[in-house]
């Protein structure tokens, strides 16, 4: 038995979970919400965290649903597993190009035996800088719906992660869903560099294009803090797929150089190899978005 002792309560409903967490917050108890526990589990075993209360929300059915709303947005419950997203049917709510992007990202997370338990909401709440969803959902322009006894509020995915294991969640709040915009995704690219398949990546980038024309924005993950967004001024990329090979090669090199120049100084400061890796992976994600 590896973790330090804790109490454990399984919530049957979101209201019950909020009440339990609320009572814990009121007495300043270190309570953690747990869903699949695939990030919290290892940290408990290593005693990197020692909460005194775990509130298990993984069996709350409404949090496990994926639904398409009347206005075209897709609402993914916080306790939907990576495996459920990986397997999401092409003709279900996650149809179309945005669905392909979600399936691709989910399929690349850790290993199947992790994906069957780990959840999209848990990944966001945990906010490991090298995790997939914080970066992927920011690129997708998703919105995170969080609830507290005071009601529901919405946070842009790009503003949800604040740093290493740090999010915009306030004490007593629980993520209830992730909402994807209704506007169709035209093209996307998603790249990561892992030293071993399934390990956390050392560089991660997502490029999602909703407007025809150039790929204008790329999001970088695994930078040690919150995902970083870069605006690209590269109109030539719009026609990338139609260009002859030589010109494509020059554009690729140029793109990597311009991304490297845009990288904030704080990203992998003083580590030339890591900065090169971030720029290379980001350039590949953008090129993928041009070609896909």
């Amino acid at each position: 038995m590896k973790p330090a002792p804790f109490r454990y309560q399984r919530a049957g409903s979101l209201e019950e979970a909020l009440a339990i967490v609320g009572s814990a917050v009121a007495v300043d108890e270190d309570a953690r919400v747990i869903a699949g526990g695939q990030s919290l589990g290892p940290m408990l075993n290593l005693r990197m965290v020692r909460p005194t209360l775990l509130v298990d929300i993984h069996r709350i059915e409404p949090l496990r649903a994926i639904t398409r709303l009347a206005d075209g947005r897709v609402r993914i419950g916080a306790c939907v597993t990576h495996a459920a997203l990986e397997d999401a049917p092409l003709d279900g709510p996650l149809s179309g190009t945005a669905g392909d992007f979600i399936r691709h990202v989910a399929d690349g997370i850790a290993y199947r035996a992790i994906r069957t338990r780990g959840t999209i909401g848990g990944s966001l709440a945990h906010a490991d800088p090298a995790a997939d969803w914080p970066c992927a959902l920011a690129a997708l322009g998703a919105t995170i719906a969080v609830v507290s006894p005071a009601g529901e509020r919405r946070i842009e995915a790009g503003e949800f992660s604040l740093g290493l294991f740090e999010t915009a969640l306030q004490p007593g709040e629980i993520i209830c869903a992730i909402e994807l915009p209704a506007a169709p995704v035209l093209r996307w690219g998603y790249r990561k560099h892992c030293r071993k398949v399934g390990e956390f990546p050392h560089a991660l980038a997502a490029c999602v294009v909703r407007d025809a024309g150039a790929c204008a924005q790329v999001w970088l993950g695994a930078t040690g803090g919150a995902p970083v967004s870069l605006e690209l001024d590269a109109p030539a990329l719009g026609a990338f797929a139609a260009l002859p090979e030589g010109q494509q090669a020059r554009l690729r090199t140029g793109l990597r150089a311009s991304i490297a120049a845009l990288l904030p100084a704080a990203v992998a400061q003083g580590d030339a190899y890591a900065r090169h890796l971030h720029a290379q992976i980001a350039a590949e994600a953008v090129i993928d978005a041009c070609l896909r």
Binding site: M1, K2, P3, A4, P5, F6, R7, Y8, R10, I34, G37, Q38, G41, P42, L44, N45, L46, L54, D56, H58, A83, A110, Y111, R112, A113, I114, T116, R117, K196, V197, G198
Partner: protein
């Protein structure tokens, strides 16, 4: 004086088809429940933080890491360990592991078998590269993986998918 009694829970679940009722400490992992409380030592504890795959078991038919799954979260669940796998596909897989020398010390083998079985059920048609990618979450320190990949490949393809396997 503070109360030092560990918080307990009585858990009811089905393990390898048989009902089990166990009083557990809340911080117990599914892996420790299987090994220490139920004496099913076929499930191996390796890294105990979700990296090595040795403790992989089926929980309601899906592969999970027993070392980072709380036993308390498994109330009412169906658990299948390597001891409980049966049916034509796992028989073929076991024979192929033997024929292809897919194990040496055997420590990783229970997890390998559970992961490979799940993989073959979900994706019966696999290239060697895909087998390697999908089995990347199970570490072996003896074989160099070549025999393991060969054994799984031997069970992939037409026929394997139609094999009924109990314990799902």
């Amino acid at each position: 004086m503070t109360d030092t009694t560990p918080p307990m829970l009585t858990l009811e679940l089905t393990v390898n088809g048989s009902p089990a009722r166990v009083a557990i400490e809340l911080r117990l992992s599914l892996c420790d429940l299987l090994r220490d409380s139920l004496h099913l030592t076929g499930t191996h504890a390796g890294c105990e933080h979700g990296v090595c795959g040795a403790c992989t078991v089926l929980l309601d038919g899906e592969p999970v890491r027993a070392c980072i799954t709380l036993a308390a979260a498994c109330d009412g669940a169906q658990v299948t360990t390597v001891e409980g796998l049966s049916g034509p596909l796992i028989d073929r897989l076991r024979a192929a592991f033997h024929a292809e020398h897919a194990l040496q010390c055997g420590y990783c083998t229970p997890g390998m078998l559970v992961s490979a079985l799940d993989l073959l059920r979900r994706k019966p048609e696999l290239s060697d590269g895909e087998i390697r990618r999908h089995m990347a979450g199970n570490l072996c320190r003896c074989t160099g993986y070549v025999g393991i990949v060969r054994a799984i490949r031997a069970c992939a393809g037409a026929g394997a998918a139609n094999s009924g396997v109990s314990g799902r």
